[in-house]
Amino acid sequence: MRRTSTLPITLGELARIQPLAAAEPHLADPSRTVEQVVLAETFDRLRRCTPHVLVVLHNEAATGGWSLAAALHLAWERNLSAVVVSRSVAGGSSVALAERLHMSLILIDDDPVDVALQLAGQVSAPAAARALRQARLAELLAEQTGIRGVLGVLNRELQQVPVALVIGGVVIAGQSAALTERPQMRQIEVEVHAPGERSAARLVAAVPVSGPASVEQVESLLRLARPSLQAAWAQSRLDAATRAAHEQAAFGLLRRLPSAPPPSGEQAGIEVPAWTSELGWQVGEANRAVWLAPLRPSGEPPPEITYLIRASWQRGHSTWPLVAEGDGWISWHSGADPDDVVALRRALAGFRDSAVAHRLVIGVGRAHAGVAGLMRSVAEARLAAHVARESGPGAVQWFDQVGANAALAWLPTTEIAQVADLCLEELMAAKDRAALVQTVLAVLDAGGSLSQASQHLGVHRNTVLARLARARQLGLTYDEPGQRLALHVLSYALTALWSDNAAG
C-alpha cells in the first residue's frame, strides 16, 4: 500500500520552509515527526504536553537562563519533538544542553506567537507544507544551469538522501553513495530523457526507510529536477558536440602536416602550429599517445558515449585532448622527459573503472618528439590497443611491451576461421576440435617439444600424443613442413577466436 503524503510532517521538512527556514536550527533528529504545535507560556502548560509536540516558548517560559534549561529538560522528559525559542534568550550553553539531551532546539528572531500560528497551520496541513517546500525547491532548481548544480541542490535539500545522475552504470554527477545497496535503504529511480533521444540516464536516490523523507516525496522532488537537468544537459551536450567537432578537425589538420612537404625544403622538423594551444593541446618533446578503443569495434561510437568518455578521461586532466577517430578515441600526454609516465599511469588507473564499464581497451604508444613523433606514437598506440583486446575490457597495453607480436593482433581471425571451415571440414565437425587445435598450437609454439607443450597445457604427455595423432587424422597435418606456417597461423586464429567467444 502506498503511504499517503498526509503523514505527520517531520522536523527536517518544517525547517526547510518559512518561518523556520530563517531560524537557526539545532536539530537532534530531523526525522522526528511533529504532530502538534503548542505555544507554552507557563511550565504547567509544558508539563501537560504530549509526546511529538513542537513547543514554542513564550513569556514566562522563555525568560532565558534557567527557564530555557528547565524547559529543555521538561521537553526531554515529555519526549517532545522540538523546542522553539527566541534567539535573544538562548546562549551557547543552552544549545550545548540541547545537544546533550538530544533535544532539537530552534532559535527564532520573529515573534513566537506568529511563528507558533504559522507552524500550527503547517503541521495541521502537512500536504500544503510539503507543496510549499516543493515550490521552494523548484525555484532553486530553476536557478541552476549546470548538471552539477542541479545535483548539488538535490543533495542539499534532501538531507540524508544521496542522489546521483547515472548513465549506463557510471555516476555522472552527485553522490555515488546513492548506488550502494544498503539495508534500511530504498533505491528509487527516475528516468531522465535527453531531448528527442532514447537515453538511459537515470536519477537514483537512496532513501533511508526510517528517514525524514518519504519515498513518494523524494520521487516527486526528483521529477521536479528533471526539466532543469534536461536543459542543463542539452546545453552541455551542445557545447561538447561543438568541441568534439572542433578537435576532430584540428587533429585532421595536424595529421596532414608531416606528410605535406616543408615549404623551404628544410628537414629541421615541423613547427607546432599555434592554434593547437587554443584547444589547450600540447605537442612537445615527448608525446605519448593513448588509444581508447572498444573491445568489439562496431563503427563510429554515438556522441553520447564520446561525451561520457570525455567526462571520465578528462577528470583531473582537463587539458588532455580527446579526439574521436574511427571507432576509438585518441589522447596524448606531452612532457619534457620521455620516461616520465607517472601522470599517465595515474590517469590510466583512474580511468580503469570507466573503461570496464564501457568495455574499452587501451593502447599506449612510445614517446616521440614533435608533431611527426606524435603521429607515430598514435599509430603505435592503436597497434597496442589491438593487442590489448586479447586481455578483455579494461586492459592496458604499452607498445614498448608488444614487439613483433603486434603483427598477430592484425590477423583477420574471423576470415581465417572461415578458411578453416572450408579446408578442414572434418576437424571443424569434431566435438573436441577446440582441445585438438589448442594442443597443436601448444606443440608448435614449443617448437615441437611434447614435454613443454604438456606442461603448458597441464595434461599428460601421452594425452598430447593421442590428441596429435587424432588431429593428424582429421587433416591437421602440422608436421608437414610445407603446411606448418599456414596451420600454425590457422591454429592461432581459431584459438584466439574461440577463447574470445568463450570470454564474450
Binding site: G65, A69, A70
Partner: protein, 369 residues
C-alpha cells in the same frame, strides 16, 4: 569557651579567640557577602570581648521563660557599612529605644540571622549591654527581608522595631502586619547612612523556645573552625556535612557567566544572572546556577536539583575556600554545595515566603516533588 584550635562542639561563651571562627562560619551561611569590612568588624568585636569579658552563650531553654529578649541585626548593604563604619553605639541605642518604649529591660539578645555580620553584631550588642547571647536565631541562614523569620511564621510580630543609622538618627516602626515593616524600613535606610542597626522581635524566652531556631550560633562557630582549618576540599566537604548536613551536588568548571536583564521579582532587590558549570567527572552534566543576591537554584541538565530555601554555596577547589559570588570567573573549578535550611522553611508557608516562587521560579522544590 574553649579557644583550642580544632574544637568542635557546644560552647558556653564567646571569647575574643572565637571571633575569626564566628566570622568565617557566618560567611558560610551567607555566601553572597564580600569581605569588605572583615578586619574592622572582627577587631572591634575582639576588642570589646577583651575589655568586657566573654559573652555567655545560653540555650533558650536555659533562660527563664519570662526573660524579655530582643534580636539585632544589620539592615542594608555591607559595603555601605564598610564606607561608613559604625560609631559603636548604634546597636545598644536601638535596643535601648525599644526598652524605653516597652518599659522593659532585656535579659538576653539573639541574632535575627546567625549569618553575615548580623551574627557578629549580636555578640557586640550582648557585650555592650552585658547580657547573655541566646544560641538561637530567626533564619538559620540569611534571607532578604526582615519578616523572613521563624518568629514571623510563629506569629511573633517584628515590631516595635528600632533602626539606628551611623548618623545617629533612628527610625521607630510599629505596624500591625509584619511584611509592611520591611518596606517602611527600606525607604529610610539610605537616609540614615546606607545601613542601620536594627533591634526587632522583642519577645520573651518562653516564646522563643518554640519560635526561634535553636543552636544556630554555636553551629556557625563550629563551621567557622572547620573552614579556618584549611584542609583538602574533599575532607572539608565531608566534615561540613557532619555539622550542617550539606552535600556536594557536583564538582565542575565554570563555563559561562550570563548577566541577563531578565524581569525579576520586585519584592527582592537583586539582578538575576546565571552561571554555567560543566561537571568534571561523574555524568558530565551541565549545571546552571541561578544567582540573585544569593544562589537560588541549581539545575543539572535542566532538572532542578536544589533551590531556595536550600543554602547553596560554591567552594573554590583550588584554594579550598568558599567562593564569594563577586569573585567567580570562567575556568574556576568549584564544588557546588547544597545545605538544607532549617525544617521550618520547607513548610508550605515557609516555602511561600522564601521558596523558589519568591525568586520567580515557578517550579516544585526537589524536596517536595
Amino acid at each position: 569557651m574553649t579557644g583550642q584550635p580544632g574544637y568542635i562542639g557546644a560552647s558556653a561563651s564567646i571569647t575574643a579567640e572565637d571571633v575569626p571562627a564566628l566570622y568565617e562560619g557566618a560567611k558560610f551561611y551567607s555566601p553572597a557577602v564580600g569581605d569588605a569590612n572583615r578586619s574592622s568588624i572582627t577587631s572591634w568585636l575582639a576588642g570589646l570581648l577583651d575589655r568586657n569579658g566573654p559573652v555567655p552563650l545560653l540555650r533558650v531553654e536555659a533562660v527563664p521563660p519570662e526573660t524579655p529578649c530582643v534580636s539585632v541585626c544589620v539592615l542594608g548593604s555591607g559595603s555601605a557599612m564598610a564606607d561608613l563604619p559604625p560609631a559603636g553605639d548604634e546597636f545598644e541605642m536601638a535596643v535601648r529605644q525599644i526598652e524605653r518604649l516597652q518599659r522593659v529591660s532585656f535579659g538576653a539578645v539573639y541574632p535575627l540571622a546567625a549569618a553575615t555580620i548580623s551574627a557578629l553584631v549580636a555578640v557586640v550588642a550582648a557585650a555592650q549591654l552585658r547580657v547573655p547571647l541566646l544560641d538561637a536565631d530567626g533564619m538559620g541562614r540569611t534571607f532578604a527581608l526582615i519578616h523572613h523569620t521563624a518568629m514571623h511564621l510563629s506569629g511573633v510580630s517584628p515590631t516595635p522595631l528600632a533602626a539606628v543609622g551611623p548618623t545617629g538618627e533612628s527610625v521607630l516602626v510599629e505596624v500591625p502586619s509584619g511584611p509592611r515593616a520591611d518596606r517602611m524600613l527600606r525607604a529610610n535606610v539610605d537616609t540614615v547612612g546606607g545601613w542601620a542597626a536594627l533591634a526587632a522581635y522583642p519577645t520573651t524566652a518562653g516564646v522563643l523556645r518554640r519560635a526561634a531556631l535553636p543552636g544556630t550560633v554555636s553551629r556557625i562557630a563550629n563551621v567557622g573552625r572547620l573552614l579556618l582549618d584549611r584542609t583538602d576540599p574533599d575532607v572539608l566537604v565531608t566534615r561540613l556535612g557532619t555539622i550542617t548536613g550539606c552535600r556536594r551536588l557536583a564538582r565542575g568548571r565554570i563555563a559561562e557567566l550570563e548577566h541577563l536583564s531578565r524581569p525579576s521579582d520586585v519584592t527582592i532587590p537583586a539582578h538575576p544572572s546565571s552561571l554555567v558549570v560543566e561537571e568534571t567527572g561523574g555524568l558530565g552534566r551541565q549545571l546552571r546556577i541561578e544567582l540573585r543576591s544569593e544562589i537560588v537554584a541549581v539545575f543539572a541538565d535542566g532538572a532542578l536539583v536544589a533551590g531556595a530555601p536550600d543554602l547553596i554555596s560554591l567552594l573554590d577547589v583550588s584554594r579550598g575556600v568558599l567562593a564569594t559570588l563577586d569573585s567567580l570567573e570562567p575556568g574556576d573549578l568549584v564544588d557546588v554545595l547544597a545545605t538544607p535550611a532549617d525544617a521550618v522553611w520547607y513548610s508550605p508557608r515557609g516555602m511561600e515566603m522564601v521558596g523558589m516562587g519568591s525568586h520567580g521560579i515557578p517550579l516544585a522544590h526537589p524536596r517536595r516533588r
